[in-house]
């Protein structure tokens, strides 16, 4: 059966939620009522079990259906839909913007390998 749950999109959203609440991962685990090691494993690509997923959805107030492929337009490859908050001075030209995109892609791949 095709894996339809977009783990990476879910974790990215979870990460954004915890930073917007100024929380560490340890605090997320404690407040959601799951083991910190579970989060670490999930971060390394392991799928959450249903109870862990439910706990994290409840903590983050995210909706599971947002991460079901096919239910939303989350079909492209991660690198093609790199989402980055890009900050720089407004005087940046298109050429320099392309150079900046290279920085984003390098960093993204670096996070993938780490």
């Amino acid at each position: 059966m095709t894996d339809r749950f977009d783990n990476e999109a879910f974790f990215a959203a979870l990460n954004a939620a915890r930073l917007s609440r100024q929380k560490t991962w340890k605090e997320v685990a404690a407040e959601a009522g799951i083991n910190a090691s579970t989060l670490t494993r999930m971060g390394q690509g392991a799928k959450p079990d249903v109870n862990g997923l439910a706990a994290l959805l409840a903590w983050s107030r995210l909706k599971a259906e947002m991460f079901i492929k096919g239910a939303e337009a989350i079909e492209s490859e991660p690198i093609a839909r790199i989402t980055a908050l890009l900050r720089a001075d407004p005087k940046l030209t298109s050429d320099k913007a392309k150079l900046m995109e290279d920085i984003v892609v390098s960093t993204y791949n670096r996070l993938k390998d780490s």
Partner: protein, 189 residues
């Protein structure tokens, strides 16, 4: 550009919460590198990520910093050729985007132009300043007569220091206080 109602107070609350998380007093200076470490955000120098980048040379003014999220990991790449005070401000700007929960946006539009949201940028600029100098810190600077040392204490540029002293209300409060003191002394003399 005006901020949404309550934003400035929210920004100060975030800056205080960050300090509380790090066992710092409300008026303490912060180390943006330590804040990244505390919140498990990887901080990368541009010279490490792209050693040949033109942003490290003649075009260094064109790139300050960028946040790249990937699953549970988040990295901030910043231009390590900028002045140390500007580096602190750049990193705080990126932290501000994270702490404000700004939605990620593709870095480029389909036509190759940069994608920018003026509202989010303005919010992040404001919070970056508050992260560096909280309202409490601004009041302390004025109350303790630390204006001439404040740049060094808080690691900020003079324009940033002046901006924070003005918009935090610290300058006005101080002027009123001095005015009352002046009036009191006139009355008593």
């Amino acid at each position: 550009m005006g901020f949404r109602r309550g934003f400035k107070a929210e920004a100060n609350r975030i800056a205080l919460r960050v300090r509380q998380q790090m066992d710092l007093s409300p008026h303490a200076p912060i180390d943006p590198i330590a804040v990244c470490a505390h919140f498990e955000i990887e901080l990368l120098q541009l010279s490490d990520v792209e050693p040949e980048s033109p942003f490290l040379g003649d075009h260094q003014d064109a790139f300050s910093a960028v946040t790249v999220p990937r699953g549970l990991a988040t990295a901030i790449v910043h231009n390590d050729r900028h002045h140390p005070y500007r580096q602190r401000s750049n990193i705080c700007h990126e932290l501000a985007h994270c702490f404000l929960g700004h939605e990620c946006a593709p870095p480029l539009l389909e036509n190759g132009d940069r994608s920018r949201d003026g509202g989010m940028e303005a919010e992040a600029n404001f919070l970056a300043g508050v992260l560096l100098i909280t309202n409490e810190a601004a009041n302390r600077i004025m109350l303790d007569g630390l204006y001439h040392q404040a740049q060094g204490i808080y690691g900020v540029s003079k324009p940033m220091l002046d901006f924070r002293l003005r918009v935090s209300g610290a300058q006005t409060i101080h002027q009123r206080r001095m005015g009352s003191a002046g009036r009191s002394s006139l009355v008593s003399s």
